[in-house]
Symmetry: C2
Subunit: 343 residues, 2 copies
């Protein structure tokens, strides 16, 4: 304290840098970091100043975690499945195919033991993690050709990265990875038959509806992708306790705020796409069933040889299994009645 | 500042009282106030000290808003539909039958213009409001007799308050209002045939499953009941800006945290109830349809004679209508596949 008296809180001036994995064009996701940083500033009279940098500006998008680990930046914001090359269990911090929805993920993380497991996992990276947003259920992407059954996937060329890509690959899809700016031209010239991105609001900005007529759902490989704030443990440990609390609470606010923002923007974007002729299509049942089987095998195979992965997987799987009946009861029966449009 | 220097934040010691409308036995809802107060204390080195009191301890549960208005307490926590006798538009701050789900409500409130409308409404009470939790979709309650169709509601005696009670009444139900402690004995002795409360976790504690075999869903009169923190405007205006931010951000955290807590507790409670012989039943389609028609008429009738109500109702209705297709697409198709238990 400046004068040792009980009525004075000393607050040091601290400037941090946050590297996001996302470009400014993904304004809802990138924006969550700025929402968080603004609130931290407001809580500390501007003394705890976190500058946010979009993906690639300071650090390549896929190197955010390693740069928080080494302390090049004090903080990062990304979807942890970007880093499954370092540890496949990081997928559970974001989402896995046929995994938890946004609400189920928050339940598992905040109250079902998920946070302890994730904190333990990130401690191997000298990082402390804070849940920092969710997009909600994503779409299955844009298709130039109709998929009437599982066999139609055979030989299809699709832009889809990550675990979803692995599952598609097992189902005969020729999977490709393009960065966001190259997807549209590839789809337009027919180098790929299909491409997935996020959901109506983000997809509309990239113009996929101009070059592919069918918009498939649901994006079963991303049922509730979570974003995470990473904080370098050494930098965190040096903060006053009030600043540590400011980070935690501002991350929680960014978490609820990002989902609410998508849930506000996606409905209107979907309507605009439909007005421009986009045709909504549901993935056939045999595609869904096969994809779920392939997913379970992939996750089990990984767990078989990896005790750390297995421990997290078992907890995640139990949370999903326990959620099953409750979320299939009141919440879904209401949706069936009130939002029957997909039948 | 204590010494006028740029590195010192002065924080006054402030003690407030918060009156909750909820008993400690509703630990998830009541607990959200304590979660919020603890975080505010942590953000201010304990200087901003909010003491929480359960319903009835300091102030009767249904008089929380008026006591925040007059400044008897600086803060309150309740569901705003408790106060529709003061202004029927307060229902939209909590929930209305066939209204928004928890996610849709957050989208409307945080991003769809709902907050401005609610702030305007609460300014008539000298109150500034902060969203402070959600239970998620509630259950339809406990029935001693089966409801196979709309005609079975005729003459049924049911404990159900609020707008849901009004709608049930229009459908022939003889509605009753009992406080929580008197519901079980009334149901046991057959003074009522049915009673609604919250959902599996809270209902289980009151033991309704011991005296009524059928557990109906969904609780269409409460699709996403929101809780709200009320702050006396004069008390709020006297706070340092950092303390104002601490209140706002801690309320947001309590918001996401309460829903996550229910989403973690309800699944296990439902399983325990089923193990004890409870039979899940879905409300028949004709009950749902009739209830929705009656609800729309009630809301329209109220709006016809009340410009303030109409303005809020139109915004709320538009948010629901705009959400309709998006929430019926990816999110629901995934639920259909992944949580098919209610069919």
């Amino acid at each position: 304290d400046a004068d040792g008296g009980p009525n004075v809180i000393t607050g040091p001036s601290i400037r941090w840098r946050l590297a996001s994995s996302f470009s400014r064009s993904l304004d809802t996701i990138y924006g969550a970091a700025e929402v968080m940083a603004q609130r931290v500033a407001d809580l500390t009279e501007g003394k705890f100043d976190i500058r946010c940098y979009p993906g690639g500006e300071l650090i390549p998008s896929l190197e955010v975690l390693s740069n928080v680990q080494t302390g090049t930046v004090q903080m990062g914001h990304a979807a942890s499945y970007y880093f499954i090359g370092k540890n496949p269990a990081l997928a559970f911090d974001a989402t896995v195919p046929f995994g938890l929805t946004a609400r189920q993920y928050n339940a598992w993380l905040y109250h079902g033991g998920g946070m302890d497991l994730m904190r333990d996992l990130f401690s191997d990276f000298n990082v402390i993690n804070f849940p920092g947003g969710n997009t909600g259920m994503q779409m299955g992407g844009w298709f130039r050709v109709a998929v009437e059954s599982l066999s139609d996937l055979n030989g299809l060329k699709m832009r889809i990265p990550g675990l979803g890509g692995q599952v598609m690959n097992e189902m005969g899809v020729n999977t490709q990875v393009y960065p966001s700016g190259e997807i549209y031209p590839a789809l337009e010239r027919g180098a790929i038959d299909a491409a997935e991105w996020v959901g109506p609001y983000d997809d509309e900005k990239l113009g996929f509806h101009e070059v592919a007529p069918y918009y498939y759902y649901p994006g079963w490989w991303e049922p509730g992708p979570a974003l995470t704030f990473y904080v370098n443990q050494d930098a965190y440990d040096k903060l006053p306790a009030t600043y540590q609390h400011a980070l935690a609470v501002a991350a929680s606010e960014a978490n609820v705020n990002m989902l609410a923002s998508y849930d506000h923007k996606n409905p209107a974007a979907l309507e605009r796409l439909l007005e421009q002729g986009t045709e909504l299509r549901k993935f056939p049942e045999d595609v869904m069933s096969k994809a779920q089987d392939v997913t379970q095998q992939l996750l089990e195979d990984e767990a078989a040889g990896n005790a750390q992965y297995r421990k997290i997987y078992e907890s995640y799987k139990a949370a999903r299994s326990d959620s099953y009946r409750w979320f299939g009861t009141a919440e879904r029966a209401y949706a069936d009645f009130a939002f029957p449009t997909n039948t």
